[in-house]
Amino acid sequence: AQSVTQPDIHITVSEGASLELRCNYSYGATPYLFWYVQSPGQGLQLLLKYFSGDTLVQGIKGFEAEFKRSQSSFNLRKPSVHWSDAAEYFCAAPDNAGNMLTFGGGTRLMVKP
């Protein structure tokens, strides 16, 4: 069965520090991959997506992610974290039929002043 794994449940970084959130997937073919962010009490907001082409994708709020087939990874990065980035981040991929999303367990990001 296809799966998406986020190994880190919680991450704390200092404001201004760089950030990398890990995401691993297990899919046979080249997957479509998404990163969403959820602030407390809010729905999910799309940060970025990878469908094909350039393996480094840029998203909103200064985030980027790199698709690495050899490592089955799609890690999310930001060079300098802001306090407003504190939220929960979800990596996701659609099933083979391209319908429902399978989500990782999420990574909760805390930002220290």
């Binding site: 479509y32 969403y36 999910l44 799309l46 996701a92 659609p94 391209g98 319908n99 429902m100 999420g106």
Partner: protein, 114 residues
């Protein structure tokens, strides 16, 4: 433009009662999805509608759960005889097509079953 909207934002009900949750997708989006977010289970797919096709109900946890989509637009998720384990945030999403496509999420309905 308007995003996905859901109502109510919060619902508190007593065990055994029925509840209805509503989702208004983005206008023109043919695909609509329901997910559930709970502490123990994370984000789980429930049901998927694509155009006039029969819905994919493979994620519904029991026959107490049902959903319909009227006129290819608004959707209602119904939970009958609610149980405490139904307490969760119910998220609706829509996408322009049913192919691998960006899903846009609503703010969710937080359901609490006492």
């Amino acid at each position: 433009g308007a995003g996905v909207s859901q109502s109510p934002s919060n619902k508190v009900t007593e065990k055994g009662k029925d509840v209805e949750l509503r989702c208004d997708p983005i206008s023109g989006h043919t695909a609509l999805y329901w997910y559930r977010q709970s502490l123990g289970q994370g984000l789980e797919f429930l049901i998927y509608f694509q155009g006039n096709s029969a819905p994919d109900k493979s994620g519904l946890p029991s026959d107490r759960f049902s959903a319909e989509r009227t006129g290819g637009s608004v959707s209602t998720l119904t939970i009958q005889r609610t149980q405490q384990e139904d307490s969760a945030v119910y998220l609706c999403a829509s996408s322009l097509t049913g192919q691998p496509d960006t899903q846009y999420f609503g703010p969710g309905t937080r359901l609490t079953v006492l």
